[in-house]
Amino acid sequence: MIEVRDLVKRFGSLEVLKGIDLQVVSGEVLCIIGPSGSGKSTLLRCLNGLESINGGHILINGKDITDPKEDINKIRENIGMVFQSFNLFPHMSVLENIMLAPVELGILSKDEAKKKAMDLLGKVGLADKASVMPSKLSGGQQQRVAIARALAMNPDIMLFDEPTSALDPEMVGEVLQVMKDLARDGMTMVVVTHEMGFAKEVSDRVIFMDGGNIVEENLPELLFLEPKEQRTRDFLNKIL
């Protein structure tokens, strides 16, 4: 599904990813944890081509996304991404946010897209907010709309970059719930998060990153309870 080989990413002279190897299989939920600046977001952004890479290969469903012959837009259609800051389009209603990509890319007709959007809004519990503007929603509601928007393209893979860390505590739960439902339905997910509860309960595997490297990876219960590396232990002590 996702295969990353020796991925190197630099910003100027700063090497942010120092040769990452990673595989995610279909239906797997992978959590990435690690201190600030360790390169988690950058890794995620490389996966759907939001960052150009300086070395290595990224294969999505067997296609090398760094190959200039591949249409990166086609690949992206297949990878949903959810951002920490929601990034809803503020000039469009909730419904229009969700319908935009399928309609503009000619994947669905307007009517089909609308039907699909309403379905998805139902799934994330916001069927009554279809015609509302994003600015009128709470953070948790906005993030759920953002998830629905990504799902509207029927992606095989969903990437989440700290989807709950910009939320007030009382709204974290509702977003995590939507993500749990997604995981249960078999979505392949890569989630950068500091929500250890979620990671333990939902993920199949957890990766701990530090300084641009994958320091350790394991089943969640093992990584949390018996970290092998000192750096992992330090990090877990600080945040738990």
């Binding site: 759907n48 837009n73 086609k74 949903g80 951002f83 990034n87 000039h91 935009l100 890319l105 990504a150």
Partner: protein, 216 residues
């Protein structure tokens, strides 16, 4: 003659000039929006050469007085290239090129003021650059641009007064022609000034109204 009589007798000629002023302002502004948008996109293209070209154009326009641009375009270029352009055409071209450069920076500012997350969200949905720009970025940019845009409209309107040097019969020139035969310079320039003032007041009120509506 008192000012009211002068006003009454000069009004038809001045209104004709005002009409010309408005025609030039509006048509050149519409064209300048197209030029400005294109040039701002060149500047934001990420391609060094295109950015350089666009920046050069903007620098030249901003680095020289409009009156010199007008002389150059109306007298200098046709002389060299042996072509003929009417002063109305020349006036519109000059104003378009001039406001186009400023408008490009207005567009660029508007586009850059849109949060980067918006582009990333759109791109990550698979939307190509063009569609991202048209559907997501520009609608938001335009909203942020309104004050700068109105400001540029006002500047352009005032700048048309310079086109009198290339013989264009806009408001200022009509005033000058009347003064040249009646010598009522105080009254005529006062009236002409008031006309510009009202037109600009109208523009800025309009602008504020648009801004208020967009903010909601």
């Amino acid at each position: 003659m008192n000012i009211i009589e002068i006003f009454r007798s000069s009004l038809p000629v001045l209104l004709e000039g005002l009409r010309m002023t408005i025609i030039i302002t509006i048509s050149s502004l519409l064209l300048a929006m197209v030029v400005g948008l294109l040039v701002s996109l060149l500047r934001l293209s990420g391609k060094k050469a295109l950015d350089f070209l666009a920046k050069g154009y903007i620098d030249i326009i901003r680095g020289t007085p409009l009156i010199i641009q007008a002389f150059f375009l109306y007298f200098g270029l046709p002389d060299l290239l042996n072509l003929r352009i009417s002063n109305l055409t020349a006036g519109i071209i000059i104003m378009t090129l001039n406001s186009g450069a400023y408008m490009a920076e207005v567009f660029r500012g508007g586009i850059l003021s849109v949060d980067k997350g918006q582009t990333e969200a759109a791109r990550s949905l698979g939307l190509p650059t063009g569609k991202t720009m048209r559907k997501v970025i520009l609608p938001q940019a335009v909203k942020n641009m309104v004050p700068a845009f109105i400001n540029q409209m006002i500047i352009s309107l005032k700048d048309t007064s310079l086109l009198s040097v290339i013989g264009l019969g806009e408001l200022t020139q009509k005033g000058q022609i009347i003064v040249a035969s009646t010598y009522d310079s105080f009254e005529i320039y006062f009236i002409v000034g008031v006309m510009y003032f009202l037109l600009i007041k109208l523009l800025s009120l309009l602008g504020e109204a648009v801004e208020r509506r967009l903010r909601v």
